[in-house]
Symmetry: C2
Subunit: 171 residues, 2 copies
DNA sequence: TATTGTTATACTCTATAACTATA
DNA sequence: TATAGTTATAGAGTATAACAATA
């Protein structure tokens, strides 16, 4: 149980005899230079790491982050069609077809033609889909997100989430 | 000039007559459900948006985020070889070849065989590469990162960067 | 034998056009 | 004609194996 209110990035300035500003890189280590201050770079690196950990934590139920997001959205919005679900997740309709084929093939959800508009496919989670989602959610909460809170603290996680959401929405 | 110290995500609870908890979604809007609390999802969405804006801001010098990161690293570490630069950026050596071909083809950097180890290609920015990098850096600072600071504030940007770096490093 | 840069290759994501069946 | 789901396809990004030159 590490401190759950860990400070985020204490630079720990002041050592014995730092020559100037940047820490000397002894011909073996590369200097990150201004890369360290680039938000996009940090975002990408963190995102890759988080997805990697997600994949590992949710491995028992064999769901990718994208698949998990689809199941979550189907659960919160039963009876919607493919276009609505896909566009909400930023997935293009053509690319959503194969994704759904996989999920439906595993019996996690079903497509049914809408009686109102026979062009649309109404999407619903199956019981197995709901059970799988529940198992995945527990894994995400107790392993994935829990480890993250352990690393940066609960308040920081909330602040981080808020900033990311704001950027995605308003930037 | 919007407030540069903008609050990040004030939920603004308490309206006139909210039925229960979640805001009612009137058959036209989808409920994000627990997706809103998933850090990986927020990370991905924010990263996509930030890269999109980066691409737009740096369009005058025609550099992708990945290419910009290579030039930055070459500038901070002149005389390194391909393997060192690539692995530092998390790029696999085979995939770095075409990237370098493009940059070298535009005259932004050069490969020269090392006299010590004739297997290695020493990488160096050209004058044109340094000039292009300088132009790109100015665009990133004055447009891209500046807009981000305008959106979330300078302190929040610093905190965000620190958390993302910590996650990439230690998660 | 091990390493550097390279080629070839494959698999995933993403993006666009166009088809079909419905409306 | 317009829309929903679909197919085909092309382009990035990413991953592994293997080869030639060099150590």
């Amino acid at each position: 149980m590490t401190s759950s209110k860990a400070a985020v990035g204490k630079p720990l300035r002041a050592r014995k005899e730092a020559p100037a500003a940047e820490p000397t890189h002894e011909a073996g280590e590369l200097a990150m230079g201004e890369l360290a201050g680039l938000l996009g770079y940090a975002l990408k690196r963190a995102q890759l790491r988080v997805f990697e950990d997600f994949l590992h934590c949710v491995a028992p139920v064999q769901l990718t982050p994208a698949q998990f997001s689809v199941l979550l959205l189907l659960d919160a919005n039963p009876g919607r069609n493919q276009t609505e679900i896909a566009t909400t997740l930023g997935i293009l309709r053509p690319n959503f077809v194969a994704m759904l084929d996989a999920l439906e093939g595993r019996g996690l959800c079903v497509r049914t033609r809408s009686p109102n508009d026979r062009r649309s496919h109404i999407l619903m989670l199956t019981d197995k889909g709901r059970a799988t989602l529940a198992r995945a959610k527990k894994l995400v909460e107790t392993q994935h997100e829990a480890r993250l809170v352990e690393l940066i603290g609960d308040d920081n996680r909330t602040a981080l989430l808020a900033m990311l959401a704001k950027i995605a929405r308003e930037f």
